[in-house]
């Protein structure tokens, strides 16, 4: 795998100029705000914009100022309890997955790296499946996210323990251990699912959850997900210089004073927290962690300090839009979010790859 990585250029092959950061944000920020607004404004029941604004007033402004606001209880519930939390969760999940993708693509020096490579994604899935089959998820809203986070961290621990010898964790070994552990945990989850398949209702819930989805997200999920994503993002931002150096090679990084092993631990841990928090509240969502950092790198260049915030915001906006699509394409059924991201992301990714390889003259 690392031999292939050496032959695969991670960034611009030709000297195509990078987009200026101001231009990029000039495009991204309006799109991001518009998508947030659109996602709150559009849903399976029609609520007019004036009503939404009145609900926002009602909820955000202090009570004394809002005595004359007329909103029905249903409006408040739909906008404030159903739509707004869901959109916020979508944003944080997208941002978290994209950030984890940036970290892992730099760490493994591979453009095909994505958050689930260190086993955290499948660990979270297994935790979730256990929560389903024991029936705990039927009685408690917290059980599923909690088990998923614990699963993600335990999986990381297993992967790390497997690939560390004498305090040194070679990246190639880490990758292999991560892939192997993911496969193992995924098969255990499938085993649990197959054994419980007779219980049709639970099986259906598991399968739907594994395909990713943001149905019935509440403020509880916002508080469960957002702190970890923010924590992970800040931790990543503090490590961008280490990331840049690690991308150039471990020996180079060490020669410039990076504590390579400690950096790798921090990075994989941060990636696991971000991935775990995302899977905990949204199930398995692919492509965001792979596509968004990759596309951002092609546009903005490989410096992680610019790449990280740009990817996070783009990932958030992307997922908000995908979720909007998932809800509105075929009402009243929702298409599973993981499917929408794959259907949107897949072709986009293929297009980017073709463009890069056609433009570059690498042999």
């Amino acid at each position: 795998m690392s031999a292939a990585a050496q032959n695969t250029p991670l960034a611009n092959v030709s000297s195509r100029p990078r987009l200026r950061l101001s231009v990029f944000y000039g495009f991204l920020l309006p799109i991001m705000f518009l998508s947030l607004l659109a996602a709150v404004g559009i849903g399976s029941t029609h609520i007019s914009w004036p009503t939404i604004l009145r609900v926002a007033e009602f909820k955000i402004l202090p009570h004394a100022w809002t005595s004359s606001v007329h909103v029905t209880k249903a409006d408040v519930v739909i906008v404030w309890l159903i739509r707004v939390p869901r959109v916020i969760v979508a944003f944080f999940v997208g941002a978290g997955l994209a950030s984890a993708g940036v970290l892992l693509q730099a760490l493994f020096r591979n453009p095909l790296a994505e958050p689930s490579l260190v086993g955290a994604g499948e660990g979270a899935v297994l935790g979730g499946v256990i929560s389903f089959v024991t029936g705990w998820s039927a009685t408690s809203v917290l059980s599923l996210p909690l088990m998923a986070m614990v699963g993600a961290l335990l999986a990381l621990f297993i992967v790390y323990a497997m690939s560390t010898r004498g305090g040194v964790t070679p990246v190639a070994t880490l990758l292999l251990a991560g892939v192997a552990t993911s496969a193992l945990l995924s098969s255990v989850a499938s085993l649990l699912l197959s054994v419980n398949i007779v219980n049709w209702q639970i099986a259906q819930e598991i399968v739907f959850w594994m395909m990713g989805g943001l149905d019935a997200r509440t403020w509880t999920h916002v508080w469960l997900c957002a702190p970890f994503v923010v924590l992970g993002f800040v931790a990543s931002l503090l490590q961008t210089r280490d990331l840049d150096l690690l991308q150039l090679g471990e020996e180079t990084a060490a020669s410039f004073g990076v504590d390579v092993e400690s950096s790798k631990r921090m990075l994989t841990l941060t990636a696991a927290i971000l991935t775990g928090a995302a899977v905990a509240v949204a199930g398995l969502i692919g492509f965001v962690g792979l596509l968004v950092p990759h596309a951002a790198r092609l546009i903005l260049g490989p410096s992680n300090r610019t790449l990280l915030p740009a990817s996070a915001l783009t990932g958030g906006a992307f997922l908000v839009l995908c979720d909007l699509l998932a809800r509105t394409i075929h009402p009243p059924t929702e298409i599973r979010l993981g499917i929408v991201t794959a259907l949107c992301g897949g072709p986009l990714f293929i297009y980017l790859l073709l463009r890069q390889y056609r433009g570059g003259a690498n042999g």
Partner: protein, 337 residues
Amino acid sequence: MHDPLRTMVPPVLLILLVITIAGGVHTYASPPGGLQLPVLEREDGDARVRTGRNQYPREAVDSDEVKVSIASPAHRVVSQYWSIDEFVYSVLPPQDVVAVSQSAYAEEISNVYQSVQQFKPTVATDVERVVALDPDLLLVSREGRADYTSLARSSGVPVYRIKTNFENLDQIEHNIRLVGYLTGQDESAAKEASRFRATVEKAMSLRPPGSGKPRILGLGGRYSYGRKTLFQDIVTKLGGVNVGAENGLVGYDSVNFEQIVRWDPEWIVAGAKTGNTKQVLATLMSDPAISLTQAARNGHIVVIDNRVFLPMSPYTSIFVRAIAEAIYGQQHAGDKL
């Protein structure tokens, strides 16, 4: 240098952090239910319902240990699960059902298809729509995920988590009365419950006194029914022996056809898609293993439409009657319904 203990510290700290945050959320931002663990031996929460009381307000405690208080008869009822659909349509006037599960609209499996086509209730998968309907009561399956329920509850909709998996016919009858109690349709429920009971008793009476106990095997695809299933209860009440339970199966479990040959049932009851009963019968009869059984040799294979093959609702009475008529009545092997 770096001992394994040091590498263990960060993940452990993080797990503790996760638990702390979860605890914080539980205390300050959690909907009712919190971290409630599932009860292993599930006690029938409905037993605490004080049925038979006709005054309002009524109270009921559901499986989440949430006390639901009902102020008046419900005329806007939402059902979130397919078997609950069948209960509510059996008890309530159809116009009072404002939302149903998606399965109600699937002609192949829905027993209430006509009603939904006529009255076109909303599909209840979307909480937004449910809230917009301003319902009086939302009936949710006990076995479903907690998120939907908690969102509905925090939206102020009255939610009752009701049993949707039954192990005996009495539970179904009790559930009918419970739905009546919850919705204020006590009379209608009582009528439906007695109709249910009467059909079952009539089916039981078809058995000639003093006849032997027919050995019956239930076949749902590649699965059969052992102890602690509704099928077991039905077969026992009809005076038969459940071959699955006889051979140690518990619950709904897979069987392979070789086992069936060894068990050699006298009767086989199988399900089929609407209109497909003849094909399924033919397939079973021609299966090398099944054809060796007594059931196949004597033409004692009963194929029943899937819609009423153990529907976990009042429609189960049709299933009971069909089996009884097949085994004890004039007709034996052949299509039912």
